[in-house]
């Protein structure tokens, strides 16, 4: 026979064959179609005939029949023949007149001493040859025409109960991220969550990424072993307590767990279930707890420290001695740095400087008697609010003298 290049070529040949293939169903079947009644009522009514249907059985029967033909000369027409075949039973109806059925042992012959099953040796002896085929077709014909044959299969585990595959698992409940190794005592295919991962291997390893159970299956030609890996997880969480704007306390919900604590990636405490964190820096801070127990996962929490400081500028002032807006004021609170320079916008002349927001410009050059004319002035203000970055702002404002 011509050999196939690959499975695809085989498949297309197979398809061609099977599309045109036809098998005649038992002749009486049409009469059993009750076309007027719901299908379900008829579908299972056909218990009249029991056939040998499993292909293995058919071949076994064929072998058997072949031996009969050679051994027993069937001139002797007997009535009912009932034989026990091992644990299975074959009952032959009285109608079978032409054939005698003699018991055979199942032809499985499994080499149980070897760890790795060898296909050729472990293969049930199913080779068919010409005479078997003839016998088979004869047998099938006979069966189709007359017989009622029931067969009980011996439980399959009797065939394979030793030489069993065994799995060894390094850790059945690993932590997330911890690698687990599964070993079998023979090679086979490995499936993880029903997806084929590896074939013909004795060992695989896997690393859980979440706490979802992982279903591992190992199968060789005879058996399947399932193993579920349940990654364990210790649920930890950080409880935050705000003491005041710049002081926080963090603790783990499970005080039995110790952790190393980091604030903005700097270690702030070690081997502790809680930590106090103080900062003067406004903005976001990331607090990280790295638990020392293996399965507890790293926890992160972000806090946002709000600044207390504020600053407000005004764009007009009227130094006329009326008690309101007589000085140019910058309203600043909670600051760490303040510096103001006031320029005349016309000629860029520096008119006033101060590092104290309480010392304000009164409209005179250096607050020293010589009054400045109305017009546009610019205040250059350097400042830093508590916990925040230093800033420089240029504020344009108008001096009015009504």
């Amino acid at each position: 026979m011509k050999k196939f290049k690959n499975i695809a070529e085989f498949e297309s040949a197979l398809k061609k064959q099977l599309e045109q293939h036809s098998v005649q169903p038992p002749a009486h079947l049409f009469d059993k179609l009750n076309l007027g009644v719901k299908p379900q009522n008829i579908a299972h009514g056909n218990k009249f005939i029991k056939l040998i249907t499993h292909p293995l059985t058919v071949i076994k029967m064929a072998i058997l029949a072949a031996s009969i033909i050679s051994v027993v000369y069937f001139a002797t027409r007997t009535d009912t023949q009932i034989h026990e075949v091992n644990k299975g039973k074959i009952l032959v109806d009285t109608l079978v007149e032409d054939i005698k059925i003699i018991p055979i042992s199942p032809s499985y012959d499994i080499d149980q001493s070897k760890d790795e099953p060898d296909l050729d040796k472990n293969t049930p002896n199913l080779k068919t040859n010409r005479s078997e085929e003839t016998a088979k077709s004869l047998l099938e014909k006979t069966i189709q025409n007359h017989s009622i044959i029931e067969e009980e299969k011996p439980p399959t585990n009797n065939l394979f109960n030793s030489n069993q595959a065994k799995l060894t698992v390094s850790n059945i409940s690993p932590c997330i991220g911890e690698t687990v190794t599964l070993q079998a005592n023979m090679t086979g295919d490995w499936l993880i969550n029903n997806i084929l991962i590896d074939t013909n291997k004795k060992e695989i390893s896997l690393t859980p990424e979440s706490n979802k159970p992982i279903h591992v299956k190992f199968h060789n030609k005879q058996e399947v072993i399932s193993q579920t890996i349940q990654p364990s997880i210790t649920s930890t969480s950080i409880i935050t307590q705000k003491l005041d704007n710049f002081n926080y306390q963090f603790k783990l919900n499970d005080t039995n767990i110790q952790a190393n604590w980091f604030a903005d990636n700097e270690l702030i405490a070690s081997r502790s279930s809680d930590v106090t964190f103080s900062t003067r820096t406004v903005g976001e801070h990331t607090i990280k707890a790295v638990p020392l127990q293996s399965c507890a996962t790293e926890q992160n929490i972000t806090i946002r420290v709000k600044g207390k400081g504020s600053i407000a500028f005004f764009n007009v002032f009227t130094p006329n001695g009326d008690g309101t807006n007589d000085e140019y004021t910058v309203d600043i609170k909670h600051y760490t740095l303040f510096d103001i320079q006031i320029f005349n916008q016309l000629n860029n002349q520096l008119i006033f400087t101060s590092s104290n927001p309480e010392i304000k410009w009164n409209g005179q050059i250096n607050n020293d008697g010589q009054e400045c004319s109305p017009g546009e002035y610019v205040a250059k203000v350097k400042y830093q609010l508590e916990g925040e970055k230093p800033e420089i702002k240029n504020i344009k404002f108008t001096l009015l003298r009504p």
Partner: protein, 180 residues
């Protein structure tokens, strides 16, 4: 059996009027091919007969909906494949869905099939574990896509692909000597 049923159109029309004789002609013409399909999908001869009956009853009741657009045989084949799948799904409900049950029954054998003999090949396909076999049948022989398979069997497309992969692998093991 590849010849066309003579006067198929009028038989179909008569059949949709409830003409049993016409239906018997259709039955007799197609029973072999349809039984072959049933045998491929089902575990046992018995089951295949049951499904064959179910299928023909469906054909009888649905024949009035046949639109003459495609081939009648193709239309029938789809009915039979679906009937098989329905049957398999019903069985599955009673089984532990754990595939273990399915896998336990793998018979280890190097099938000695010496030629492209359809009967032997069907036997071979039937030796595949049920899950593999259904997908293999649908995809390779009956030309369904993975999407259609996943809808019909209510499995994911990736499961369908995996099953096909495993079926092919198993066949290649069984038919070792068949490949270059």
């Amino acid at each position: 059996m590849s010849h066309k049923l003579s006067d198929e159109i009028s038989l179909i029309k008569a059949c949709s009027q409830g003409d049993h004789t016409a239906f018997k002609k259709i039955y007799n013409h197609y029973k072999g091919k349809m039984f072959s399909i049933c045998l491929r999908y089902m575990n046992t001869h018995d089951e295949a007969q049951d499904v064959l009956q179910d299928g023909f009853i469906k054909v009888y009741h649905k024949i009035s909906t046949f639109s003459f657009a495609g081939s009648f045989e193709g239309w029938m084949k789809r009915i039979f494949v679906h009937t098989c799948i329905e049957f398999i799904r019903k069985q599955k409900q009673h089984e532990d869905i754990n595939e273990l049950t399915e896998m336990d029954n793998i018979t280890v054998s190097e099938m000695t099939v010496s030629s492209m003999d359809a009967d032997k090949l069907i036997e071979l396909i039937k030796e595949l574990p049920k899950g593999y076999r259904t997908v293999f049948n649908m995809y390779v022989i009956d030309g369904y896509s993975h999407k259609q398979i996943s809808d019909a069997l209510q499995i994911s497309e990736s499961t369908s692909k995996t099953q096909l992969f495993k079926a092919r692998k198993q066949l290649q093991i069984w038919l070792k000597g068949w490949f270059e």
